[in-house]
Amino acid sequence: MDILVLVKRVPMVGGKMVLTADGQDVDTRLSGFTVSPHEECAVEEAVQVTERLGGTVTVLTLGPPEAADQLRDMLALGAHRGVLLETDGREWGPIATAAAIAAAIGELGPAAFPLILAGNEAADTGGYQVGIRLAHALGRPCVTGIKRLEVAGDLLRAWRDYGGGQEEFELALPAVVGVKEGINLPRYPSLPGRLRAKRAQIEVRKPAWQADGLRKIALRVPAGSAQRARVLGHGAGAVPELIRVLGDIGVLAPAGRAEADGTVA
């Protein structure tokens, strides 16, 4: 089975969010880029399915020319083919993104990908929409939030978390599936995989941007993140003070709490 996986290039954020001076974007001068964990798992899932059933994995992204790096990262994980829908760096909304991907799939051959996997939601926007809007554009059924997937013939069984338990879906291929991290444990890229990815030809298309009704004014970092924790002490010597704090918070069992208070008072 030939599978298409959608990924998105996003800043690799570490311990702190830093914005550009104009407040329009995350400052990436000191950070790298990556794809969302959900998407890495989507690629891993696709590779595992093709390892079982045969076929190929195509990864597709819509982004700036540099997003080819993320496609190569995914090729190194075992994907076979990379397609870049190149933009001029502007932010694309879900409506325009899904339309551009649908058009590209039309050109690549709509029958070519009975299964399309997407990360459930992108790390930066969390929109939860591109896979679903794409499914509608292609007239396909779609399930999202999926953490377990079984492909048997033309049938797909999928499970997601619901209310502390699970919710099960059954649908016919061709279909679009939004997957979440936890569906598998992605492998590390192999050396041959890296070499193959480095040499691979990325197919480039250039769709036209369109507005979709939602306009960003500016981003801001929630204020107050400059607070500092009160240091209770160092090493095991801090334990009496720590016990007192846990008692104040009210998470020690009543007996233990009273005794602990007595002990350290």
Binding site: M17, G165, E168, H234, G250, V251
Partner: protein
């Protein structure tokens, strides 16, 4: 449009689900917002219903229907109509069918906006609704105000709440999801960029404040309960949950009162025994950072973070966790964060309330021993 704001309300075990409470708060502020549409343009076709403004709670009756308790709660939340969507075909959750029903309800009520919690179901249904109608969906809002006809000023989460975005939505009908979890426990630098809505606003922490019961709210008797039977096609029912099973029993990470977190500093799969023991003593559970699950030390279901579980305990004791953005997005609703870390400059130090500087493999066993000793003195 001059009709009501529709709010998709998920009912969980007879009660309004927590995320839906937050969605209701945002929906209520929209329905009572200052720039509400002109009442004289009310659609006469919807006579007898709250034609101008108003807040319609939309509940899908699958098996059993909505509980009376939820209905009473809704009446106390400023809801002016409870609309129960029921159809013989809707015996289980079916995302496209739910979206189709809301699409038809928008037309029937001339709705101005649709609001849903950004849960798996809420976000999914609104995305389908966006696709069916061709309308944009603004995801993960925490505040919304109508500024003029078909224009809304929004404050919404980016990066699961690690950033806030001021945005403008222009659309014939506003489709919004509301961040299902709370926002950073940091003061929002709000210099009036978003006008304060009447009854729901992000508080100093950026969290949506949902009044539990409003004294000035409309009494239950004034809330009509209507039913709506959507016209569904076979294609709308193509995808449906064949089984939805809540697990029940056992403490869940999402709802635990105490979470003992372990990160890279735990050092390996064997290091979690002490954390499990401590969690047991505190009546809590163990949660882990993403590096722990991607190393395969612990299963993904224990992951706290943007792509794992969002927690909201009384105490989060974060051990050997540096405090990456991805992780903190999952624990920003924790009431108290205490960090145990060897690095006094780790990012978690600016997010925690208290810290112990030291090796968790020394501190945690000592803490366990001290709690046991105190308990044993009874």
């Amino acid at each position: 449009m001059s009709g009501p704001v529709l709010c998709l309300v998920e009912v969980d075990d007879g009660e309004i689900a927590g995320p839906s409470q937050r969605a209701l708060a945002v929906a209520r502020s929209l329905a009572s917002g200052p720039a509400r549409a002109d009442p004289e343009r009310a659609d006469p076709a919807s006579a007898g219903l709250p034609a101008d403004g108003g807040l319609t709670a939309v509940v899908f009756a699958t098996l059993g229907g909505p509980a009376d308790r939820a209905a009473a709660d809704l009446a106390g939340q400023g809801v002016t109509e409870l609309c129960v969507v029921a159809s013989g075909e809707l015996t289980c959750y079916a995302p496209v069918a739910w979206a189709r029903a809301i699409e038809q309800l928008i037309a029937a009520r001339s709705a101005a906006a649709v609001v849903a919690a950004a849960t798996d179901r809420g976000a999914e249904v609104l995305a389908h609704l966006g696709a069916l109608t061709g309308l944009p969906v603004a995801a993960n809002c925490v505040a919304a105000t109508a500024t003029s006809d078909q224009n809304w000023r929004l404050l919404r989460h980016r990066w699961a709440g690690s950033l806030l975005e001021d945005a403008i939505l222009a659309a014939p009908v506003a489709l919004l999801t509301v961040a299902a979890d709370a926002v950073a426990a940091d003061a929002v630098a709000d210099d009036g960029a978003v006008p304060e809505p009447a009854s729901a606003s992000p508080d100093a922490s950026g969290q949506v404040v949902a009044p539990v019961s409003g004294g000035a709210m409309i009494p239950a008797a004034d809330m009509p309960v209507t039913t709506f039977a959507p016209a569904l096609q076979a294609a709308d029912l193509r995808v449906r949950a064949t089984q939805s099973a809540g697990q029940g029993g056992g403490m869940s990470l999402a709802t635990a009162r105490v979470v003992v977190g372990g990160g890279r500093g735990v050092g390996g799969p064997d290091g979690f025994a002490a954390l499990e023991e401590l969690a047991g003593l505190l009546g809590g559970v163990v949660g882990v950072s993403r590096v722990v699950t991607s190393q395969g030390w612990r299963p993904h279901r224990q992951q706290v973070g943007q792509t794992g579980t969002k927690i909201s305990p009384e105490l989060y004791l974060a051990c050997g966790i540096s405090g990456a953005i991805q992780h903190m997005a999952g624990c920003q609703s924790a009431k108290h964060i205490v960090a145990v870390n060897t690095d006094p400059d780790a990012p978690i130090m600016s997010r925690a309330e208290y810290a112990v500087i030291g090796d968790l493999n020394e501190v945690i066993p000592a803490l366990v021993a001290a709690i046991r000793a105190a308990g044993g003195q009874e």
